[in-house]
């Protein structure tokens, strides 16, 4: 049996290996306004940074400032925005009483939390 046949037996697909929560959260999260806006803003900022960098042409002080701004924004997205989204996501499940229907499935509390965390981590990677 080849390695591929072992990993993906007949009737199964690649995404079957992913946590159901991860799949749902990625589908949901990447359509969320906060993700789209953060992503677009970061792209705009990076473009401005590249242009400013080109204009500065070896001014080491200016380059240092730009790098500083870049990390402040990335840090804000990673350390504030994403954890807050994680909290909001769990509290929404409880508030909307969807956590109860999830509890009735085969998913354990650990798989739910880990799925949510990994979805946010994947979205953060996309941002950076």
């Amino acid at each position: 049996m080849s390695a591929l046949a072992f990993l993906f037996p007949a009737g199964k697909s690649v995404d079957d290996w992913l946590s159901p929560i991860l799949v749902k959260e990625l589908r949901q999260g990447m359509r969320a306004r906060v993700f789209v806006i953060s992503y677009l803003l970061l792209q705009v900022f990076l473009s401005v940074l590249v242009l400013a960098n080109a204009a500065a042409q070896g001014d080491s002080r200016a380059l240092e400032d730009e790098s500083h701004y870049f990390w402040v924004i990335v840090g804000f997205a990673l350390l504030v925005l994403m954890p807050l989204r994680g909290l909001v996501s769990v509290s929404q499940e409880v508030k909307n009483r969807t956590m109860e229907t999830i509890m009735l499935t085969r998913l354990t509390a650990w798989r739910v939390v880990f799925g949510k965390w990994s979805a946010l981590f994947a979205q953060s990677l996309l941002l950076v």
């Binding site: 009737g11 079957d16 929560i21 749902k24 949901q28 509890m103 009735l104 499935t105």
Partner: protein, 321 residues
């Protein structure tokens, strides 16, 4: 319908502080039955259903679902039951098909089997044409169908439905009733709660009445409708003055006024023999009542429910000092 007991509840109790939401509830349901769980708001329906769905733990009592003690082995029971709450949880930015796909994954369906299963569920609940619509754009009726689809995703043998038709328009109610009928024909056992009796009357084999956390009646809806067969509910209309009809009725033995209608009144008539009814009509005409309509009314489930509650409250208060 089989004789196999699928759900057996014994001496179930659940309190929240001083509020005794469920008190000594015992009943059992056979495989393939559709059981209406009826009670006023706050009677204990949702608490009981949540206990059965293993979403809450009882203070005392046992819940045996398909031979499995639910409080001790909730995971085993959860795999075989479907839970449809009174309000379905809405997800932002998730389409109908993605929602069902998520739950199918969560119940362990893989690859092409999952895709087929989700498609079958959408077909059954008539959600296929709207499979790519976002959940928050669905109407109440569509949402309830989606919620039903979700509760069927693990192919449960027992379905617990908490007020599934609440807030639905008449068309959506009819569609929902049809789905329940098909599920019942497929042999699913269904416990369906509501405080609207008319919507349960046609669907259910048996009725379970709950009041103040206690089961006050468990029986089939036909027996309940028939009630005390010696008492006949009559509706009489007159082309003349309805007051004259009511005054005349007050003098007739065995005839008790229930309520007045626009052109007449409704009465309970205690018949001693089969000819009593025709004799009563003949007497009315002889006494000068201009009868335009005289018919026997089938007892409504609402009336039966009120009577059961009245009897139950009567027996409770008799026991009090």
């Amino acid at each position: 319908m089989s004789d196999e007991i699928i759900l057996d509840v014994r001496n179930l109790r659940r309190s929240f502080g001083d509020v005794h939401a469920v008190q000594d509830v015992s009943f059992s349901i056979r495989k393939g039955q559709v059981v209406g769980f009826i009670g006023a708001n706050g009677a204990g329906k949702t608490t009981t259903l949540r206990l059965l769905a293993t979403l809450d733990t009882p203070d005392a009592g046992t819940i045996n679902i398909m031979g499995c003690e639910a409080t001790h082995y909730p995971d085993k029971v959860r795999a075989r039951l479907g839970w449809m709450p009174d309000s379905y949880g809405n997800y932002d930015n998730v389409t109908v098909v993605e929602y069902l796909d998520f739950y199918a994954r969560a119940y362990g369906y893989m690859g092409s089997r999952r895709t087929k299963h989700v498609n079958d569920i959408m077909e059954f609940t008539e959600l296929t044409p709207i499979q790519d619509r976002l959940m928050h754009t669905l109407s109440k009726g569509m949402g309830q169908r989606l919620c039903l689809g979700r509760s069927l995703i693990n192919e449960p043998e027992l379905l617990l439905m908490d007020e599934p038709a609440a807030g639905l328009d008449p068309k959506a109610r009819i569609e929902f009733k049809n789905l329940v009928r098909i599920l019942s024909e497929q042999g699913k056992t269904i416990l369906i709660s509501s405080h609207i009796l008319s919507e349960l009357g046609e669907m259910c084999d048996t009725m379970l009445f709950i009041d103040k956390g206690r089961i006050v009646h468990h029986g089939d809806s036909e027996t309940l409708r028939r009630g005390d067969e010696s008492i006949i509910r009559l509706e009489i209309e007159t082309t003349g003055n309805p007051d004259a009809l009511v005054e005349w009725a007050a003098l007739q033995p065995g005839l008790v006024l229930v309520d007045r209608t626009k052109r007449g009144a409704r009465f309970d008539f205690t018949a001693k023999g089969p000819d009593e009814l025709s004799l009563l009509l003949r007497r009315a005409i002889t006494d000068g009542i201009a009868v335009s309509d005289f018919h026997r009314q089938e007892r409504r489930l609402e009336d039966a429910f009120v009577e059961v509650l009245r009897k139950s409250n009567g027996s409770t208060s008799q026991g009090k000092p």
